[in-house]
């Protein structure tokens, strides 16, 4: 058997509800995402993008199928092992930043540094996130973009092998969004972390190695992109 990809998903299905109200959200998804790839996931609203991402993150159980991360099928893990999986491997970034309101920027990042055995140095991260002068402020004292950068810092500090981002720029303006994207590109380059980004922003496809599109519960597009554009050159 050939060497498996870093993230290998097979025949993944998911439905919600029972009887009449039952909706099949994912109808058998299979794809392979290689180590170090930036993978972008498109799809209309309600197509199951978040559901997919949450399943990869071990937040939501699959109905059937498998999600191999490295050599482990996380669909087979028990709750306790899922916690360890998230702790070791994952970084999460949400559309709403979900920062702890009564911790400073720095402390919010430290919350996740604490979880990792080989975390990144927080000072470096603060610098490269452009948050150095804001490190002592509380979330309600900084802008949305800064909050999102903080949330990214929190996800990155663990030095995760897999970064899951659900509409990371969804709440941000053009410039800020671009800054965030550049940041993510740099992180990917420097730390070789694999990223799955859910977004409605079509332009992001140009900076991604791998493009997926969900439609009616199936992947309508699953292509690799070899003509990468730097994030700084994206326009939309």
């Amino acid at each position: 058997m050939a060497q498996r990809a870093f993230l290998s998903i097979r025949d993944l299905t998911k439905s919600y509800g029972d009887g009449e109200a039952r909706t099949q959200v994912l109808k058998g998804i299979s794809t392979d995402i290689e180590h170090g790839e930036i993978c972008v996931l498109f799809g209309p609203s309600g197509s199951g993008k978040s559901t997919f991402l949450n399943m990869v993150g071990g937040l939501e159980p699959a109905d059937s199928g498998s999600i191999y991360v490295g050599d482990t099928d996380i669909c087979q893990l028990r709750d306790r092992e899922l916690v360890e999986y998230r702790r070791r491997e994952l970084g999460f970034i949400f559309q709403f930043y979900n920062l702890v309101p009564d911790l400073t920027v720095r402390e919010n990042i430290e919350v996740c540094q604490y979880l990792s055995r080989n975390p990144l140095p927080v000072d470096d991260l603060l610098n490269s996130l452009g948050l150095w002068e804001h490190r002592g402020k509380f979330p309600n004292q900084i802008s949305g973009g800064q909050q999102q950068r903080c949330a990214i810092g929190r996800a990155l500090v663990k030095n995760p092998s897999l970064l899951l981002c659900d509409e990371p720029t969804g709440a941000l303006d053009y410039h800020t969004s671009k800054e965030i994207l550049e940041l993510m590109e740099r992180v990917n380059r420097e730390y070789h972390s694999t990223m799955v980004i859910v977004t409605h922003n079509d332009a992001i496809r140009h900076m991604s190695h791998h493009i997926l599109r969900l439609r009616d519960g199936a992947l309508s597009e699953d292509v690799l992109n070899d003509q990468l554009l730097p994030a700084a050159e994206l326009t939309w």
Partner: protein, 814 residues
């Protein structure tokens, strides 16, 4: 240490109200609970040691006249030691006090082997014009060593402040409802002092100590009955026989009081702890709900549930520990004295010594603390069963249909909004209802007792049908010829003099003796003073006998008096005892559940004879514990001569020979019962009210604050939309206000029911029937105090709402 913990101090400051509330709740519950129960426990230990340490009697009896040596030797042969302990009740007076006061003179030499006393100040009397008085009495009258008092008209110096181990409380008579340390005291004197101050007047009391002091109550009372039989056989007439534990209230009233109060406090502390547990549940749930997004993110980031639980446990635990430590510190130091005073302010107890009670510590400290921990832990674990996603989506607030209930459109928007606030916070409001009920219970309980006692005293004096009811030790005729009076005066003189021959001289003695020769041995003695024809005519004889009537609920019994009265009595004019009718006092009827037509079982505790009477009607006030029947019929029933009598009812004051007079009951003397109860309960009830109000404030604050807190985001939105603070108050605070007010009023029936239960429980050890009547005014007061306390809380909420910032809604996307 988890970096999360850095937020703890900020959380503490941010939610200062909440944590301060929990802290104060602990502080109050423990300071009061532990303070009271520790003091009570220590006092119980002191009381428990008294029997041995001060050689308290096992029983005592009083004979009508001095008992013969042979009689005493006969009962000592049964297995006990009898100590002669003659006392004399004499009037006491001192500057600045106009009430009639009674001092029971006790010969200190008779108290060396039995019922020993102890001094708090001063020394024992050494001369015949020196006296030592009881500590409580001195305290109530601000009497100090060196004071001059008049005892039976003799001037004496008070040289010591003491207490007697058999007068732990100053109970004048065993049938009194309550002790009396304002117009009654014991006075220790030398034998010479006794003679000088009391003259020939004596109550022939004998104290008994069993050879086997371990004898249990049943064995002891049966011993005492045998003894009474033997004394009767020997021709002695017992006027009193008192077992120290079974019916000596002077000894046991205080002990019963302490143990009864303890049960009550334990129940109240227990209730408070349960309420606290509910408060913790509500607070924990509210916290988790508010922290939902944070928890979701942490879980998604790989935090273990254990770590999150640990994080959320830190502050409650810390607050709990602090509260426990501070509560105990306060309870055992600052509160200790007022708690002791609850008893030392009423009873003549030996000096206080603290004894640690592990049970009290567990009950007041460990249990609430463990409860806080367990409730918080279980609450967290239950909530953390939800998936991380549920937290991220804020789905953890229990979703029930009431949140999505369709409200009729015809209600105004404001009404619907308020209803939504109500429905959304229903679980808080349910706990709030019970919290409010609990505090109202406390308040009402604290407030109702005093009026109850006043009411009771009023009832008691209502039943005193004449201005004076004179009880006699033996029948004494008011009517008589001057010759008869002279003869009896001669007898009195003989009785009063120890050595008549030398005191009166030969001639005088012979004259006195000659006078006594005229006496008719079978007739009743005649009063030596002629009270005048009209006074004698309006006085009316009655006979009386005491019996035990069994209680309904417990197997204890009530000591009651059966009056034998004249048919067509001028004083008991409403009581018809013709044709063998038996009239039962309304209080007795209520307490012992006697209805007309029922058979009342009366037991004579001295002879153990049982009598059965058929109740024909009920009369009198709710405090009336007597039974009335025809005088001749009563005399026949108890095997007395038909014309026997126990005293006189009289509207006019009579002069009656001291040696025959037992007591003069007046309507006013009943008032002192109320005074005493007020003095005894007053502090306790103030304590209860002082406890209720802060607990009330804290509970209401904590429970309503969560409602505001969980809505603070929406409040912020409303401000953004352009709502004025006042309008927001109307939407949120008004909903809370309505709930609080409705709870206050709606809980009243429940509260009244509980208060009745508690009062009857608290009153169980008192003889007599205390009618539980709660004035409507009191309810108004409870609601008013509740409303006033809530007003403070509502102001805090309004201030809080004003402080909710606009940016809260807009800035942080939790």
């Amino acid at each position: 240490m988890s970096p999360l913990n850095k937020r703890l101090p900020r959380d503490l400051i941010h939610n200062l109200g909440k944590y301060l509330g929990i802290f104060l709740l602990f502080l109050f519950a423990i300071a009061m609970g532990s303070g009271y129960l520790s003091a009570a426990h220590s006092i119980e230990v002191i009381q428990g040691e008294m029997h041995e340490r001060h050689r308290v009697e096992d029983f005592h009896f009083v004979t009508q006249f001095e008992a013969a040596k042979s009689s005493l030797e006969a009962i000592e042969a049964m297995g006990c030691t009898i100590y002669e302990d003659f006392t004399a009740d004499v009037p006491l007076a001192f500057a600045g006090e106009s009430r009639d006061m009674n001092c029971r003179l006790i010969d200190q030499d008779k108290r060396r082997e039995v019922n020993r006393g102890y001094y708090f100040e001063g020394r024992a009397p050494a001369a015949d014009n020196e006296i030592a008085l009881d500590r409580m009495f001195c305290k109530n009258h601000d009497l100090h060593v060196g004071a001059t008092v008049s005892i039976n008209g003799h001037e004496a110096t008070m040289v010591g402040i003491c207490s007697l181990s058999d007068y732990e409380c100053l109970m004048e008579k065993n049938t009194d409802m309550i002790f009396n340390s304002t117009t009654f005291t014991i006075g220790l004197v030398t034998p010479e002092g006794m003679q000088a101050m009391a003259g020939g007047k004596r109550d022939y009391r004998y104290d008994g100590v069993l050879n086997d002091r371990t004898m249990d109550l049943v064995a002891r009372t049966s011993f005492e009955r045998d003894m009474a039989d033997l004394l009767a056989d020997k021709g002695e007439v017992l006027t009193d026989l008192v077992d120290y534990e079974f019916d000596n209230k002077a000894i046991f009233f205080a002990t019963d009081d302490v143990s009864g109060d303890q049960v009550m406090w334990q129940v109240l502390v227990g209730l408070l702890v349960v309420i606290m547990a509910f408060v913790f549940v509500v607070l924990t749930n509210a916290t988790i709900e508010q922290e939902s997004a944070v928890i979701g993110t942490l879980l998604a980031s790989g935090y273990r549930k254990r770590e999150i639980i640990g994080h959320y446990m830190v502050l409650p635990t810390l607050i709990g520990v602090l509260g426990c430590v501070a509560g105990n510190a306060l309870g055992l130091t600052y509160m200790s004295t007022p708690m002791q005073e609850l008893y030392y302010g009423s009873y003549s107890l030996p000096p206080y010594e603290f004894s640690f009670s592990p049970q009290v510590f567990v009950y007041t400290t460990v249990v609430p603390f463990v409860l806080l921990e367990v409730v918080t832990l279980v609450g967290l674990m239950r909530k953390l069963r939800f998936t991380p996603l549920a937290f991220l989506r804020r789905e953890i607030a229990s979703r029930s249909r009431r949140n999505t209930l369709a409200l009729p459109e015809r209600l105004s928007f404001v009404r619907r909004f308020q209803l939504r606030v109500f429905l959304r916070n229903l679980s808080h409001f349910v706990v709030l209802f019970f919290g409010i009920s609990f505090c109202s219970l406390f308040l009402l309980f604290g407030l109702c007792l005093m009026p109850l006692v006043e009411h009771y005293a009023q009832m008691l004096s209502q039943d005193v049908v004449a201005n004076h009811i004179y009880f006699l030790k033996a029948p004494l005729e008011l009517e008589g010829t001057p010759e008869q009076r002279a003869s009896y005066a001669a007898v009195e003189r003989l009785m009063e003099t120890d050595d008549p021959l030398s005191d009166l001289g030969f001639i005088g003695y012979a004259r006195v003796l000659l006078r006594t020769m005229d006496l008719d041995e079978d007739a009743h003695p005649v009063n030596t003073t002629d009270n005048g024809e009209s006074a004698i005519a309006q006085a009316e004889k009655f006979s009386a006998a005491s019996f035990e009537v069994p209680h309904v609920i417990t197997d204890s019994s009530e000591e009651i008096t059966v009056y034998g009265i004249e048919q067509d009595s001028r004083y008991w004019s409403e009581v018809d005892v013709s044709g063998g009718a038996v009239v039962v006092g309304a209080g007795l009827a209520e307490k012992c559940r006697i209805k007309p037509g029922d058979t009342v079982t009366l037991t004579d505790k001295y002879t153990n004879k049982v009598y059965e009477l058929m109740a024909t009607s009920v009369w009198g006030s709710s405090a009336n514990m007597n039974i009335y029947m025809d005088r001749a019929a009563l005399n026949r029933m108890v095997d007395e001569e038909e014309d026997n009598f126990a005293g006189y009812a009289s509207d006019e004051e009579l002069v009656i020979d001291q040696r025959y007079l037992a007591i003069d009951v007046t309507p006013d003397s009943m008032g002192s019962t109320a005074d005493q109860m007020q003095e005894s309960f007053g502090d306790m009830m103030d304590m209860v009210v002082a406890f209720a109000i802060p607990v009330y404030l804290i509970l209401v604050y904590l429970l309503t604050k969560t409602v505001i807190d969980r809505s603070s985001r929406y409040i912020s939105y409303m401000k953004v939309f352009g709502y004025q603070d006042g309008e927001i108050n109307r939407l949120y605070v008004r909903a809370i206000t309505t709930t609080v007010m409705v709870s206050l009023v709606a809980s009243l029936p429940f509260v009244i029911w509980l208060v009745r239960f508690f009062v009857s429980f608290a009153m169980d050890r008192y003889s007599g029937n205390l009618e539980i009547y709660i004035e409507p005014m009191l309810l108004v007061r409870v609601v008013a105090i509740g409303a006033a306390a809530y007003a403070v809380v509502a102001l805090a909420h309004m201030w809080h709402i004003r402080r909710v910032s606009l940016s809260e809604a807009l800035k942080v996307q939790e």
